[in-house]
């Protein structure tokens, strides 16, 4: 198929349909309204169903029901709406239901603003709901990658029977870029039939009950052990990242994800023209986080710089990876303000000439 110029939100909607998702439940919120808008007219064309729920709480429980029936399903929202879904996300993880949740992040806290942000990193990667659970989190940096990761997210959700977030900032949702949907895409994994799904019992198999309630302590502990074993497999097998300039020499390792990594890439190229060597490691999977890759790449740098559209959230994972072997610096913008390439480049210079203060715990 030829490339089409699409908004990130539209590409996400189209990618979901091409991944075989015929059900969408959601509630409007800027800056992701083009996802439900797109699906409201596209899903009926492919025999699917679009429902504008009464609230995000309703939508998140509708996806629980549809996933429990074995259907591919997804919802999308933006930060405050995702907060409202957190109870259901915990239930989805507890009941091991495969769903895709797209969060086009806006600036918080509270209602905050409608402009881009990456301040939901903790919520997505550390489990915004109660209990011991994790969700896979994939963070695209372009419209093409947003479409590709949505397709992957459905496969990963089904394979692990786990919620998967696609975490984009407002730019990913609103920006238009060329995107190509590959007709020959193969599923990431061998996906087993959903024999666990609750589709109506006719006596020919054990009853399929979708549940996250285990009142017996030992049974619940065993369930938790099983979940933890699954998360360990995810951490082993599903780490994704990309490096830029890691092959050569570099003094500063920049760690950034999403569109911020693109801003840093432009900064890196401008700095290299001036003889200042920086490299970038871009986590694509935020859970599982690429700890080993960051540790190895940081070992070859004099200092590490984390750049985020937040007050500093991913920086904690970078600190875990670097483990005090290198000084870590931070540059972040909040409120919906963006980092510009000049700003990122200036920060790299400050790190190198000692004007930037190292981030310290406490």
């Amino acid at each position: 198929m030829a490339k089409k110029l699409m908004k990130g939100c539209e590409a996400i909607g189209e990618a979901a349909i091409r991944a075989g998702c015929k059900l969408f439940f959601g509630y409007p919120i800027t800056p992701q309204n083009e996802i439900p808008e797109y699906l409201s007219h596209r899903l009926p064309q492919v025999g699917g169903t679009f429902v504008q729920a009464e609230s995000e709480v309703g939508a998140s429980n509708m996806i629980y029901g549809a996933a429990g029936a074995g259907e591919r399903v997804f919802t999308s929202s933006s930060s405050p709406g995702i907060s409202l879904m957190q109870e259901a996300v915990s239930y989805l993880a507890g009941a091991e239901l495969p769903v895709v949740i797209v969060n086009i992040m806006r600036a918080g806290p509270g209602l905050g603003g409608i402009l881009p942000s990456q301040a939901d990193y903790f919520q997505a990667t550390k489990g915004g709901g109660h209990g011991d659970f994790n969700t896979l989190v994939l963070a695209p940096w372009s419209v093409q990658e947003a479409a590709d990761l949505v397709a992957d997210a459905f496969d990963l959700a089904d394979y692990y029977r786990n919620p998967v977030y696609v975490l984009g900032d407002g730019l990913i949702g609103q920006m238009m870029e060329p995107v190509e949907f590959r007709e020959d895409r193969k599923p990431l994994k061998d996906l087993a039939a959903k024999t666990w799904a609750s589709t109506g019992w006719k006596g020919d198999r054990p009853r399929a009950v979708i549940n996250s309630l285990y009142l017996d302590a030992d049974t619940l502990e065993q369930h938790n052990r099983d979940l933890q074993a699954k998360y360990a497999t995810i951490r082993r097998d599903e780490v994704r990242w990309q490096g830029y300039g890691l092959d050569g020499d570099y003094d500063v390792l920049i760690v950034a994800y999403g569109t911020v990594a693109r801003v840093c890439l432009t900064a890196m190229e401008e700095l290299r023209e001036q003889g200042i060597k920086a490299a970038i490691l871009r986590p694509i999977s935020l859970y599982p986080f690429p700890y080993d890759a960051v540790r190895q790449a940081s070992a070859r740098a004099r200092a590490v710089l984390v750049v985020e559209l937040s007050a500093g959230q991913m920086i904690q994972d970078v600190q875990l990876a670097v483990a005090e072997t290198r000084p870590i610096h931070f540059h972040g913008r909040t409120g919906g303000n963006l980092v510009s390439p000049d700003e990122a480049a200036a920060k790299v210079r400050e790190v190198l000439d000692g004007r930037s203060q190292e981030v310290r715990n406490a």
Binding site: L5, P31, I114, E177, E269
Partner: protein, 197 residues
């Protein structure tokens, strides 16, 4: 080679559409492109702008603080973005709605009265096409032929609109092109990177 530009005007003037058509044209020419709208809280009659990048290689930052070119469709847009344009860049001013000269002297200024030209063509709603044609003429960021093809596609279902919009597009392209030529031959001018005023 990278072209980056900010297209700005009142909501409804077509700034976002002009930007989209530039991005489409760039993509059809085989370039890498990005189109980023400002989507902040604005009310009707407020300002609207978008950033377009057209590049030979994958687009790095879609956020451009110092664009190489600016299309200012109205005065608030010129006020807001004049200082941000890179030295040596281009500012195209819609003089129908901008009543002051451009202050910068370290870049090239092209002035086109887009609304007046559209009115004189009997197509007042075609001011955005005049501006688009003028911007292509002033900057050369995409081929005019690609834009013509887009106009034909966009209005394929309303053939009557194809000709009037192409006319507007060409009128803008020529109005800007005359100034670019003049600047190139003006004695004492160092060429397209100096002020044309």
């Amino acid at each position: 080679m990278q072209h980056d530009m900010i297209i700005a005007g009142f909501g409804g003037q077509g700034a976002l559409l002009i930007g989209k058509m530039l991005a489409y044209a760039g993509m059809h020419q085989g370039k890498e492109v990005s189109w980023l709208p400002s989507y902040g809280p604005e009310m009707r009659g407020g300002t609207a702008n978008c950033t377009v990048v057209i590049s030979d290689k994958p687009v790095g930052s879609p956020v451009i603080k110092s664009p190489r070119a600016l299309l200012a469709l109205n005065l608030p847009s010129l006020d807001k973005f004049e200082d941000s344009v890179r030295p040596g860049g281009v500012i195209l001013v819609n003089t129908s709605l901008v009543n002051r000269p451009v202050r910068r002297t370290d870049l090239r200024v092209v002035s086109v009265a887009a609304n007046d030209i559209a009115n004189s063509l009997g197509n007042p709603r075609g001011a955005n096409m005049v501006a688009l044609g003028a911007f292509v003429g002033a900057t050369g960021v995409v081929d005019l032929r690609e834009v013509e093809a887009l106009v034909r596609d966009t209005f394929a279902r309303k053939p009557a609109l194809v000709e009037v919009n192409l006319k507007a597009l060409h009128a803008g392209f020529e109005a800007a092109g005359e100034q670019v030529k003049e600047a190139a031959v003006t004695p004492g001018s160092a060429g397209p990177n100096t002020a044309a005023e």
